[in-house]
Amino acid sequence: MQGFLLRRAAWFVLTLWAVVTSAFFLMRAAPGGPFSAERGGDPLVQAALQARYHLDWPIWRQYLAYVGPFDWSAQGWIVGDGSRIFGGVLAGDLGPSFKYRDFSVNDVLAQSLPVSLELGLFALFFAVVVGVSAGLLCALFPRGKLDLGVRMLATAAVALPNFVLAALLILVFVFLIPLFPVAGWGDFAHLVLPAIALGTPVAAYIARLVRAGLFDALSQDFVRTAIAKGMPTRVVVLRHALRQGLLPVVSYLGPAAAGILTGSLVIEKIFFIPGTGQHFVNSALNRDYTLAMGVTILYTALVFALNTLVDVIYTLLDPRIPLEEA
């Protein structure tokens, strides 16, 4: 296990470095800069800003200063609130935000990440609970009305974009039947609609997976053995069939979480939720280099960690798979 985790960590560092480097140079290569939008001010202001954030340095020097404490000059970057020298990513410091001038990227992320995490986790939880239950019911009563209904709903839910679903939810549950607040963040009521909108496509896919997985498991020889042993239906389904049938769902959790992350970009915008999603899109548009990089690093780390976690869980569940293959 240690060897596996160490190797994963090494891959992680490598991947992260590749992502940071390519993103860094990609951003600088694109036309426009973070301060070219400061029209209305005079070119002197622009120049001053550029100098303050060291955008006038040669690019390799900017890169090194960004990555770590490799800047030998005494100047360094001052972090947004003027309190300290920028230490570089390797020191865990993601730099000052170019757009939100009084904040460092770490601050921005620290504020917004918990919000997104809460939304994402709740959406995932919703998706798993609803998806597994629906799939289970379908597999137990196959080809009945319930099965057909759930399958149609699932196909529709996968087909519909999640922002369309969000719009419909708002229409029905905020305007027509005023049950929930329309936007903002604060208590549980604010969480429900966005989480449902985010989680439903995932739930639908999970329901399909569980249904197919259970069908397959129920036709396996070991289920026949369990029945031949006189095990009651409850045991056969819950202990024998479900364990095998849920394996594909565990594999799917990685992509599912990534999908929820992606979907949150839109959902947060619709419901005005102060998470990291909005920062990601806006920072790319605003050429807020450090914030964009910061969010990218964060997302890469999250997805990587999640995938590793899922791999570990899978090998714990299926003793036939050795850890190295995961």
């Binding site: 694109a30 426009g32 996968v158 087909a159 922002f163 369309v164 419909l168 839109v266 990218t296």
Partner: protein, 361 residues
């Protein structure tokens, strides 16, 4: 039990064989595609989906010809008007010829429409939006854009995937391993973020390195989905390389090109077609998604993603403009649903392993 037919089945050891031949010899073998087509035709859901999609496709193609109001003409002084049935508001001679820059063909078609219908246009059948633009017209034109982008992007991912995957499968060995390593690495990244990143960088500039902005958009979406296609194609090519019928063909002296074209391509094609049908809805979703974020199609051009943006921005608790949300949802949902249903049915129809179907040499 009825007595057996006249054939003397108890005679010689070869008699059973002759009897079998007499009974079954007149049956014709059928190819994978004819089998699949028959099966598809019998699938009711697939039939509905095909008809529906054909209808949508026809409407999209003929959009410039239809007597619809302009999708762009704004009347900001007016409030969004609710849908009105054709007998209440039967249309009027108020056509305003306003569009974004159209292609030459489209311009001619609009001209033709004016010749046919003069200045008549349909009434607000589906209502109008916050800027006074007719919703029906926007849905039709928006669908045209979305479908066109989806098809083009899907084709992009198809070409990328087939070439890359086919090459990897055919080359085999270390070339294949390296190529697949790259794919695995890219697969781990949430590509959408990369695409958003890139598109955000392109921003509102008209072109990047000489390539039009919309083309970049197309390529970006296509790039999202080629990975799965590449993997699938490579897997198929690899298994086909070792397939028995290929060995048989080679033993019979068929050259590699002949093997490729008569044997491999038809089998790979089946998988590719299924994947394509399932990729198009995903691509449409991505296009809507990205346009929604402001990274895709730009006004005044219209796509379904942009219509959704308008709908959500216009949402207010004071006046419920339900038509702005319901009709676009129906449009997007039904087209994507039809595509998914068709894709699923195609996959079932083309699957040679389902009971009653033979593998295809």
């Amino acid at each position: 039990m009825k007595p057996a037919a006249a054939s003397p089945r108890w005679d010689l050891p070869s008699a059973p064989l002759e009897a079998l031949l007499a009974k079954h010899g007149s049956e014709k073998g059928s190819s994978l595609w004819t089998q699949a087509w028959t099966r598809l035709r019998r699938d009711r859901a697939a039939r509905w989906a095909m008809w529906f999609l054909s209808l949508v496709g026809a409407i999209s193609l003929l959009a410039p010809l239809l007597p619809l109001p302009s999708p762009v003409a704004m009347h900001v002084d007016r409030e969004p008007s609710a849908p009105q049935a054709p007998w209440v508001a039967p249309g009027a001679q108020k056509f305003e010829r306003q569009y974004w820059p159209l292609s030459a063909l489209d311009r001619q078609l609009v001209g033709l429409r004016q010749t046919l219908f003069q200045e008549w246009q349909t009434g607000p059948l589906l209502g109008s939006d916050a800027k006074g633009r007719d919703l029906l017209s926007r849905l039709v034109w928006g669908g045209r854009t979305s479908l066109a982008v989806a098809l083009a992007a899907a084709l992009t991912s198809l070409i990328l995937g087939v070439v890359y995957g086919g090459l990897a499968g055919l080359l085999g060995g270390w070339a294949d391993r390296i190529m697949m390593r790259i794919v695995d690495g890219l697969y781990a990244l949430p590509f959408t973020f990369v695409v958003i990143f890139v598109l955000g960088l392109v921003g509102s500039s008209k072109s990047v390195a000489g390539v039009g902005r919309e083309v970049v958009f197309l390529l970006a979406i296509g790039a999202l989905y080629w990975l799965s296609m590449a993997r699938v194609v490579r897997g198929q090519v690899l298994s086909l390389k070792r397939a028995e019928f290929v060995l048989v063909a080679r033993a019979q002296g068929a050259g590699p090109l002949r093997i490729l074209f008569t044997h491999m391509i038809p089998n790979v094609l089946a998988v590719v077609v299924v994947y394509l049908t399932l990729t198009i809805p995903s691509v449409m979703l991505s296009e809507a998604f990205l346009s929604f974020l402001g990274l895709g199609i730009e006004p005044p051009k219209v796509s379904w993603g942009l219509i959704a943006v308008d709908a959500i921005e216009a949402a207010s608790p004071l006046r419920v403009y339900w038509w702005l949300i319901v009709f676009p949802s129906l449009a997007i949902g039904s087209v994507l649903l039809a595509l998914n249903v068709l894709g699923d049915s195609l996959r079932d129809a083309l699957d040679p392993r389902a009971p009653g179907r033979a593998a295809q040499p």
